[in-house]
Subunit: 339 residues, 5 copies
Amino acid sequence: MIVRPHPTFFEKTFAIHGSILVAILPKVLFACLTGLAAYLVHSDDDPFFAFTPFTALGVAISLFLGFRNNACYERWWEGRKQWGAQVICTRNLARTCLTFLGSEVSIDDVGVAGIEIDETNPKSPTSRSIASIISSLGVCHSHLLRGQLRGIWLSGHPKPPNPSYPADAVVDALKYAPEGHHESLANAKNQPDAALRLAASWVQRCLATQTIDTIAAQSILKDLNDLSSVQGACERLSTALVPFPYSLLVHRTIIFYIVLAPFAMAGDLGQYTAPFNAIVAYTFFGLDEVARQMEQPFGDEPLCLSMSAICRTIETSVKEAFGEEASPPLAPDQRHCLM
Amino acid sequence: MIVRPHPTFFEKTFAIHGSILVAILPKVLFACLTGLAAYLVHSDDDPFFAFTPFTALGVAISLFLGFRNNACYERWWEGRKQWGAQVICTRNLARTCLTFLGSEVSIDDVGVAGIEIDETNPKSPTSRSIASIISSLGVCHSHLLRGQLRGIWLSGHPKPPNPSYPADAVVDALKYAPEGHHESLANAKNQPDAALRLAASWVQRCLATQTIDTIAAQSILKDLNDLSSVQGACERLSTALVPFPYSLLVHRTIIFYIVLAPFAMAGDLGQYTAPFNAIVAYTFFGLDEVARQMEQPFGDEPLCLSMSAICRTIETSVKEAFGEEASPPLAPDQRHCLM
Amino acid sequence: MIVRPHPTFFEKTFAIHGSILVAILPKVLFACLTGLAAYLVHSDDDPFFAFTPFTALGVAISLFLGFRNNACYERWWEGRKQWGAQVICTRNLARTCLTFLGSEVSIDDVGVAGIEIDETNPKSPTSRSIASIISSLGVCHSHLLRGQLRGIWLSGHPKPPNPSYPADAVVDALKYAPEGHHESLANAKNQPDAALRLAASWVQRCLATQTIDTIAAQSILKDLNDLSSVQGACERLSTALVPFPYSLLVHRTIIFYIVLAPFAMAGDLGQYTAPFNAIVAYTFFGLDEVARQMEQPFGDEPLCLSMSAICRTIETSVKEAFGEEASPPLAPDQRHCLM
Amino acid sequence: MIVRPHPTFFEKTFAIHGSILVAILPKVLFACLTGLAAYLVHSDDDPFFAFTPFTALGVAISLFLGFRNNACYERWWEGRKQWGAQVICTRNLARTCLTFLGSEVSIDDVGVAGIEIDETNPKSPTSRSIASIISSLGVCHSHLLRGQLRGIWLSGHPKPPNPSYPADAVVDALKYAPEGHHESLANAKNQPDAALRLAASWVQRCLATQTIDTIAAQSILKDLNDLSSVQGACERLSTALVPFPYSLLVHRTIIFYIVLAPFAMAGDLGQYTAPFNAIVAYTFFGLDEVARQMEQPFGDEPLCLSMSAICRTIETSVKEAFGEEASPPLAPDQRHCLM
Amino acid sequence: MIVRPHPTFFEKTFAIHGSILVAILPKVLFACLTGLAAYLVHSDDDPFFAFTPFTALGVAISLFLGFRNNACYERWWEGRKQWGAQVICTRNLARTCLTFLGSEVSIDDVGVAGIEIDETNPKSPTSRSIASIISSLGVCHSHLLRGQLRGIWLSGHPKPPNPSYPADAVVDALKYAPEGHHESLANAKNQPDAALRLAASWVQRCLATQTIDTIAAQSILKDLNDLSSVQGACERLSTALVPFPYSLLVHRTIIFYIVLAPFAMAGDLGQYTAPFNAIVAYTFFGLDEVARQMEQPFGDEPLCLSMSAICRTIETSVKEAFGEEASPPLAPDQRHCLM
């Protein structure tokens, strides 16, 4: 995500970082060339076409671009809302666990049923509080979800730009899961879902030992269900793109316009045909490119969501809830980009 | 659903699979013909019409196409959201059942009231866990819903393209229901609803034997209600289409435009009238066709939702929750189509 | 509602049933006449107006029509969503009642407080299950709501087209209410609300006799509240139409356009002025008429919602839940119309 | 609110009541004058401007008007939805109270803590049922909310058109509150909020005397929270208008257009400039005026919401629930206006 | 926020305060200059360009401006809705606490676990009611959220216009937190979240001492979760702006239009080119500026939300609930601005 909150007039006029001009430069130059060709071959006496019929194509382009842009922005914004909900749900989970379980109930109190805990490992002491274990599994879920989403996105690529992303996410995630869960998490087909199931197994443990009553279990399960909703919505966004024919219709209609309209404009615009066509191409392809990047909000292109930074926010919230030291928030890089 | 996540510039310019060009080719050729006719009969001295009045028709077409496209896309997206919710709800159901029932409570504990279970059949042992039975009925509900929706869609067809679809879905569904339920499911007028009712009958059984308390029953019923909401919304989408007159208005106004506008453009465009009219027809009929396919998101046309693949995802989630081996996810065919 | 799910190209071009052409024919002919008048009185030397200033009116019309059409479609779709929710809620109510009350708890167990039951009447035996009574009151609520909504709609008419509608609905409704409730239902100012209150009185009876606990009562009340929400939303839709000035603005601006524009077009279009004006009138008044019919989704015009068919679906679901024989679903008439 | 559900063609063409023509007549006449001036000073040889550049202004106006109209309509419709929710919530409150409290539990049973009840007053007998007291406080809340909203709206006026409105609402409200609450209600800074707090104090009383359990209290509080949500949303709508600059931008751009465009049209339209400009002004200012009235849905202009009629509906529902005689619904006045 | 509820015709035509004219004056003057330059260098015989091709740019600008304006308005309105929800949730929290805890349960009853209370300080007596402490922490949360949001906004500025804002908010917030919480609140990385956690710790305390049951705790936690949702949504709005490339596309396309279009209009408009270009610039840059201010609803520019006034409303509601004297509401300053 590009983070430049208060740009000045000149930054807005000449900024390169954060602009999509670089990404569409070849297309803009192509429009320059067709404009130049139209200027060179046209004659004032016998113009190829009048411009008026092009209003029909203009109507179609504005319809297609407008629709696709709206649809993609709404996908992007829904993706951001879901990750915002992930932050809220993890905080709620920690608050609920602390309220109903307190910070004293530990593994010793509820036992370990169906879960392998290496009791000899000092890093997963059985005295760890259950509230903290369940809440940390929420953080674990966030990291695994980040990895899963980027993995879905990468798998469609011929050359993944950064294949270590999902692996990184799993490493981050395992820091927040008790040692005994590592194997079952790593082997799961749907890793984030497995994290939620493991959290629920602790709730069941607490119920079985009557540490909490069914009301409290209902409240904790409600928070886990909310995390599950976020995951389901993100999976939907990353597997169901805007139907493919839209991008074809937009793309092809703009190509028609950029190639044909200069021949209709050359009589009116003369030597200015090429730059004018380039400006029109900049606006049309620019919006098309912004829409394309926002269509898949969980990728790693400049406009995609800063899921790593959000995961850090989630870590901080849960750590603070249990009085642990939190890492500082992630900052954007020199190109104003925050992932 | 067409699955081509990262198309290149040339794929977008020349792709055939996933394009709707093939579907509307006859209409585009028809526009070529009217354009050719207009070019042949027009005379520069006495044009039939000026183009200007056609802006009124252009306004109407952009209004109709824009509205219908938005309405149909929202239907398609709501359909996808509902199936995404189906995934979420089935996972929640499994998590809730495991938490409140554990994996040990079995048919032996709660008895079998009002449900015929063939105890001699080794495939439906009475020792099967209730949590697994209820969760599997969620998977069963998904398959039955898929069959029901495709059945509603097919019933409007003169020649159903693949009449075995709904039957397939029932076969898949019955794998996830205890043997004793097969007959009542098969005879039900509304099969998915019957699956939910059967799941609720197990909850009642657990209540009657005091295996769970009313709080836990409330939680499980809540998940069943969520599945019921998905079903109701899908039934609504498949029985209440965008009002019929819209597609008439769109269709007829485009026909008027495609037939009449060339006579107004022939003076300006000359020999280019026919290809230009074909391009305009491609954009208008293209959007119309995309909208038509998305209007019924539960059909089996290329843009319709990949309900079979989603059902597989649901199967995987529930199987993993009970430690069973899951089948691999469905993959798109050579034409990039995933159903 | 018009039900023609898979129309062919020719059906879409020439269909009469389901088209709104018949409803707006007088207006289209009126446009023909003004077009003819303009053609007859115009002279090529001294045209009345240029067409260009009409773009301002065109902007206004597209704004008004587009807005009104969106608003009315959203009303229609919200109406359909509410009735879809009615289906979902009634099913949920039956499932909840069966789970918490089972099918054995009967009037004999809870007594009859404050409700007159004619115990001598064989059709309302005191051994009837409470779950069935409460669920049937949900069906009763659906029929009464249908009657109430159509009654509100009819009351604005000079000549009600079919005054027996609401009465029919009450007859259908009373079949699903115990005999003892008939009088209080018939006398209620707000009949559907009374049905919900009667259902709640049975819940209170069960509470008072400790047949269920407060958790179960909370769940059943939740389902009744959902039915109440549907009712409230439908009452809102049927009493608060799109503000009246909008339809005036749309109507008058189209009239201005249809009357004046031909005089600006006659110079360009000559003898084609009249048919062209008729086509423009068809598109503008066509959209206006579709919007008008959808504005009141609970009326009995062709585009209005098929509330009777939905009530039949509700009946079927509840009957199946209690093992009773259900009637077949309603089918559209020869004009493809399903009410 | 204007109530004319089934207007005929002629009513729509010539209606005065319910039209906003009267409100914008001065502006339409102003447009006539500028059109007349343009006609008088123009000369065919040397027109002031060409009309083409005005398309840029037309784009801006359609953008501004379209946006502002949508925003204001959504405010109006949200206001109506909230009041519809108020109806639903009050009915739910009565149903919930009757179910959990029955009609027998009275002040005698729960005592009167912290609330002054004049026991000598025959109109507030201590034998009154608690269910009825709490439900009536819901009606009281509706009336107080109506008064509060109209009071916020009036306070911005130089000359309040009917200053007795809020006072009337308070009088209506107090009829539904026990005598002992009158003083604390009248003195509260936020009267509707105080009504909800008083209702909650009765719930607390019931809890303290163990008349109900915490589940029942939770259900009743949920209904009170829903009423609180409606109130909060209405306060938001009435204090946060569409940002002021929008109405300036719309207003000023229309003024520019109405003043300048005639000078561009006079060459084309000649003597028809003045009426044509008036028609354009009617459409633009008409939409602007409709938007202005809908922006503040809780005022007392013709398009504002019929809050008094809705309060009467609420009264009826609660009275029927307790078997009391209800007043007839309010009817629109001769100008088809229902407030 | 600009507060001018009932402006007259002349106020709307000539108002300065609340207009955004001042903010965009340099850009309007720049448009004057380019218009003047175009007028001076143009010649009637050889115009630079025809205006017609500019319709393509006009389409792009209307698309960009329309989209960005909608997106920003929705952000602003969502921000306002969230703060409206904050008001509702705080009122609900007070009502819930009073109902389940009453006003008598005090620190003496539940003890002070894990929280340092300076018992020698007369301002935080241990006899203070728990209901009041928890509710006041809701007010505290509101102030801290206000400070946090303005802090995020300020941190992007080169010169913060009023750096004391967030500090002020913390001072206001601490008035509503018990003394013993001051240090942990001040040191928290996420202060508002810490306030909610402290409130939950009191709920846990009440649970541990069995002052309330788990149902009541569930209800209070639900209200805290709602406050947490508001906070999460506000953090999302303030950290995820509309993607940066949009403002570049809008800005640059307007600049192109303002610089180039005069050369196409000079032939038609002559001496009126400069003022006409200024009017067009006013409308385009005006909308751009309104959108820019609304994009960040939590800043301190004139159109930003009046968070201080809303916090005062929240204070009033909670104070009234506990019978304390409330401060008067904040009023707009002379420039009609309310922050």
